[in-house]
Symmetry: D2
Subunit: 468 residues, 4 copies
């Protein structure tokens, strides 16, 4: 759903993280490969820090990994590394915000990569600044470093644990200290993190597709509130004292994660497929073809087709070369953007009643354009089926979403939305349907605050910032 050209505010995952510890091998390249498999989680910057236990080297840059590391990869031969890809930052000194952060403190050096967003970030930062800490970025992740540094706890592990007790919100972390690799998942387990085994070491990654990319064997997902530490003696597990109801982000299944990943035991592809089946049961459209908005809508559309018996066809072809660096010449910018990115297959649309499957609607602008595109290609009817419920509340757990008044579902009735996007029919997957589609009963333990506003942590600071 990353879409820079159409330039509609989209939901952006903040980051992908990867960590590796190996008894014997040089890990920079493997870290690169693993991180590369997570590129879909962040295209605005990338960084890798590597250590051999004695020295640390770090390389960071803006853009896709191929650009960010064009000048250099970390140059040392090390056995432990952490990496990070991230979506965009506003503000000037952007490079300062690129992760992993690397710092020295009384306990040696520490490098940290963070996926998620804290809900008591400002209060934490203010408290630290008053205690004499300086901040060299605008990132809330830097607070975690400072908390660890000022901690009086005797060991690095205890410093980390005691720091995490003071923060709230979403955080999956990979941390490299001295000779150890540490992974943490917050007590709500908002963002994913899994553990894999190499022949002579371990990896931590946001998604299993990164384990596949480095030929690691999946061991298990990190548990809510768990801290795993990898060192020469093996993998050790610790737990935060703070407990919480699990509320993992359901949008990982809807469209963030790669369909080939398995998160907390549930196949992303299968979840999407089941959402599509459920959609078809909830909205038995009288139509001729089922067309996905590629790429995230494909699995749901296959499911819809399987359930409804309507043929699945490709109705919109994506230009694979549209990317970050595509800069449209000025005068044609407005006119041609959708046509540059997605082009209809007339043979599959002309004279057809179409069910269009997309994963979500944020502002509605893109949907309106796509539906118009289908009609110009000859579709006689277009029914829009969305594999998620209406998004009515902003996310404060690591997704860069619109503010509330930009969310079409927060300010419009379904009828108004139908009119605005020009569809003949519109159906959002029911919340019940969504939760039942995420297999193994996991659905029950998902964060649904963007649909219901039932934030599992105190978000008053975030609301205040948004002027609410």
């Amino acid at each position: 759903m990353y879409d820079e050209i159409i330039n509609e505010p989209q939901w952006h995952e903040e980051c992908g993280i990867f960590g590796i510890w190996s008894k014997t091998a040089s890990v920079t390249d493997v870290c690169y490969l693993g991180l590369f498999a997570l590129q879909h989680r962040g295209q605005e910057s990338a960084g890798i820090a590597v250590t051999d236990g004695m020295h640390v080297d770090i390389a960071k840059g803006m853009g896709l990994m191929t650009e960010a590391f064009r000048p250099r990869l970390p140059g040392i031969t090390g056995h432990c590394a952490v990496g990070h890809v991230r979506y965009s930052t506003v503000g000037g000194s952007v490079l300062a915000n690129v992760q992993p952060f690397l710092a020295s403190f009384s306990g040696g050096f520490i490098s940290l990569a963070h996926n998620g967003s804290l809900t008591n970030a400002q209060e934490t930062r203010r408290r630290l600044e008053n205690a004499g800490c300086i901040f060299q970025s605008s990132s809330d992740s830097e607070s975690i470093l400072n908390l660890i540094a000022v901690s009086q706890a005797p060991t690095v592990e205890e410093k980390i644990l005691s720091s995490l007790e003071q923060i709230e919100g979403a955080y999956s972390l990979v941390i490299m200290t001295g000779d150890r690799l540490t992974g943490v998942r917050d007590p709500h387990a908002f963002r994913p993190l899994c553990l894999g085994r190499l022949e002579d070491g371990y990896v931590l990654a946001s998604e299993t597709c990164a384990l596949d990319a480095v030929n690691a064997t999946f061991v298990r997902d990190v548990l809510p509130g768990e801290m795993v530490v990898v060192d020469r003696t093996g993998v050790h597990s610790y737990f935060l004292q703070k407990k919480a109801r699990r509320s993992s982000c359901v949008f990982e299944y809807i469209y963030f994660a790669r369909p080939d990943s398995v998160i907390d035991g549930v196949s992303v592809w299968q979840s999407r497929y089941l959402m599509g089946r459920r959609l078809a049961r909830e909205y038995p459209a009288a139509a001729d073809v089922v067309v996905p908005v590629p790429d995230t809508g494909i699995a749901a559309a296959i499911g819809f087709s399987a359930e409804s018996g309507l043929p699945f066809v490709e109705g919109l072809i994506k230009n694979r070369y549209v990317g970050r660096t595509f800069i449209l010449p000025d005068q044609t910018k407005r006119k041609a953007t959708v046509e540059m990115k997605l082009n209809p297959v007339q043979a599959n649309l002309a004279g057809k009643r179409v069910v269009l499957i997309d994963d979500s609607i944020v502002r509605g602008t893109t949907s309106a354009r796509l539906i118009a595109l289908l009609r110009r290609a000859g579709a006689t009817e277009v029914h829009m089926c969305v594999s998620s419920p209406p998004i009515t509340h902003p996310c404060y757990y690591g997704i860069d979403t619109s503010i509330r008044r930009e969310l079409i579902a927060a300010v419009s009735t379904e009828e108004e939305i139908c009119r605005k996007i020009g569809t003949d029919g519109l159906h959002y997957l029911s919340l019940q349907g969504l939760l039942e589609s995420v297999g193994d009963g996991m659905g029950e333990r998902m964060c649904t605050s963007c649909f219901r506003g039932d934030y599992p942590t105190d978000v008053s600071e975030c609301l205040a910032e948004a002027g609410i």
Copy 2:
């Protein structure tokens, strides 16, 4: 099918071409957009030449269009332009080979972009050199410029026509001379070329997807042996005296062209879909799922599924960030390439009998790796269905294919191929099946020389060069 990482010789289309003539508007940006829609036809270099009738400006560069034009686009405000994207060249002075070519001659200036390959290139070049011509590239397209320049014919149109009578092989051309845009297709119509109308002008393009990208209305395909000239007075049509049986390249339908294009009246997507249906009839596999090799295998897999009733699923997910500039760190190069580019969806494969749909097999190396990947993900059987007959002969009409001894089908029996790629079953689409799948009787008028060696022009020069 562009695949740099896996680094197996693939079939590469040589080029995409685009021309535009407008009564009123500045066309550089529109030319850029049109060419961008043809990026899949060539990723190694790009160029655009623009004129306002008085001045000409040209910009060329290596790499994808976003890189090639990063330093600059042509700077003048012109009403006529030609553009070119192309696949790779061997040899040192690569930039010299980037098209369009731009030259001045006794008739003014001429800029030319060529898709295809001449089969009497060497003889033509030798003849011209003996007449005192110099060549500043190793491209056979430069011969056409020289032929036009030495022509004694009175008008530019006649110079072009008389030059084309002297060359043989495949050529779709867009040519810009002074105030005119010219498009030509060789008498066999090997490579595609179509004409579209703008509000105040015309465009010529390799595929209709480029017409869509600039909001042009499709007018018609350029006919075999036809030269169309666009100028202030409209579109004029001329024909070469040389006649030939139409033998258009069938691989445009199999995988070169974008599925949303319509070539010579036939939808590419539909053709692939029908190939899939036909495959299913020819090879009624006892299997559980149909899995495409993305992206070119998708339409055929949908067709196979529709005909066979077996469910269509995504079994291999492509990492969309693998591209030209992806440079794998050295030591991991061999191990991880396939895993970086395609990753299996275990949920759709484990315990399943899989029909894998790909468009062709060249050397067989990629197929072997993909099949192994599916098996590691738990597939119990893999049946490989290929939507084209065995490729046994090299192409001399604009596709950079392997030499004969590298073509697995030229040197191995089907049984040997089965063994080499490790499949439980293998079926190539029959030639008859292929030709019938390309709609509207067009199949009968296709070039099939890569399957049968029945080259429609004299290729003795090409054979000699290959040492045959």
Copy 3:
């Protein structure tokens, strides 16, 4: 004396700094111009931070300013800025060490650029780390930021002053906090810093040539131990309590500073000229011509010529295109480096007895090559006259010099040096002569520790680090 090709350890000034405060104008461009005039003080990286009182923007990069700011200059329209150019850093994460540093703390934001080197850097850093501070660079300048942040003093000015009382060594600083520009020079006044006036504001710069570059009027040099603060109400002066004997770096006059600069009231060009005159009196060579090693030897050679009556000629011509980015092809690297950079003017050398004037000898390798070059061009005798005394001790005040055993004068007698560099005569300027050449009695107040080891601050930490 910057010399990357010949690759001999040279004495490298660590930095140039520039600050600007204007009532009305946007200052980014003026800061760029001022800093550009200080490029000779550091070619490895550059940075500029700008504020409008509300927002801060910073741009940093590696290389010469033209490269470092190629991606961008700070984008905001601000009335206050600080900038920094610096020589090289060892270690991996070099960008993290590029100045200015920018941080937020309890008092708002602070940006700081530092010229010099602290002699209690490690002790200070350890103390801060133990207090819970983190360090994101290996630079000792970051300690100053942390000291200011942890200070309990009520105002920012007092925080800065109290922090500086805790550090020792060389520091000229420009600091930007909120709406104010602050400049500081350590009590020994090791490194230069001067104040200039614009129509509507003030600038601070390492050298007066930067004042000239922005059309600022010289006001005065910042005094030893003085802190000047520029804000809306004018220029305010404060003094550190710590007092010290002035010991400004004499090498600014010998070769660091630009000859058109005036430092602490003394013209750099005139000082060099007088060193040359004194050299001629101390070593009345029987010779035919005086030849400078360009560019730093020129003024001294003119002085030598004036005093001795021997004609001044150009005997070595510098290739002005040899620079940072010049990468010599491998196999020729050893052979041709000196010839690439300096080429003899045979007409001025053949058959002549030559006095060669250079500013210093560090390891002697370059001198040996130059003398051989002169001889090959026909010089019958070469007498080497050096406008500084023998360097026998490392500098710990901001110059990146060789360790002691690499200093030829520390380990060899003059006779041995003569033999090693192949000269017919060698004369170092006497220390007395040097100090008398730096006009206005300033010579008496210079740091001479590199000649005598009489370090004006406690350097035991530095000696320990060097294993002494």
Copy 4:
């Protein structure tokens, strides 16, 4: 005198050329080094072509050599190479104009680099176009390639000779054909070319400083109208039938060439020195100091000082980092340019009567600025002494000069010039004085057409083009 910032039209030498032939060694690197020593002759583009007798590789690019070859140097191991650096080109497709040109023709391949400018370029080009030749650049050098290609002469040497008989104007050429290196100098010997010997081969270069850079021994200058051919059997000499009076460009001595070069037996540095001495005799100024405009004015200023007894001092210091890529921020562009590039040494100017030595005055704008700069620094009188006569006529032999009405000396009296540039006294070196300063009687055989309009070839075509 290259001056992009001040942006006054200057006299620009078109090119530097270099050729190398070696029995044994790989020559790419040596060619790079040789060409690098000629960088002052052209900073806008560079190219090198290399052959091993079988294959040719060429690399070209825009900008200084370090930029132009950043992507790549020719990749093959060859024993023969030609290289070219050149000043600017107008027009869009600039890369097409970058030399060396490389082409194949009936005689094999040919690569050519040209210094100079033809005076019958248009007529030659028109003639060739009418014969059917195409031109892919706007360079007159491409005509030479075409002439060679259409020549009916039996050998390559004779083809070249017969082609050169048809062109007029200035040309020093290095040509690489098959296994041979050829060097040519036109019958007037307008532009320099010299021959040097390596241990196992030969080099050709525009100036001897390039011989020095590759440790080649000077053999001799190529003679007027001579063609030297280097091959396996040694050096062979041929002569054009066309004879002419030698009229070598005197501006090579005034400022084009590097002062360490020796051209046609005459030291450039010595010539400038003698011009300075002569200037002092012609204009015995009552002054206190002699100040050169660096770098070209230095030798003349030393000469002036020696003759007049007035002390030579540095009064203007050049910022060595001002270069091609220096882009001044917009608003400060006008104000600060001269101050960025040259800064006065106040100590040498305040209260002094100054003789300022420059090599030439083109439009007078720079002179006016420099003189104002000196006065602001306290100079009480400024006398401008120019080491060349007034330039009153454009050059058509390879220097990109102003058109006539921009030449201040063509349209103003000396008195008017004095007033315009604000000097207290102005003296141009007399033509007689100039010619006598270029040693060995060579002065008599110089081209003086820019002073007198006595063009040694027919320039009616050039005059027509300029609308005269």
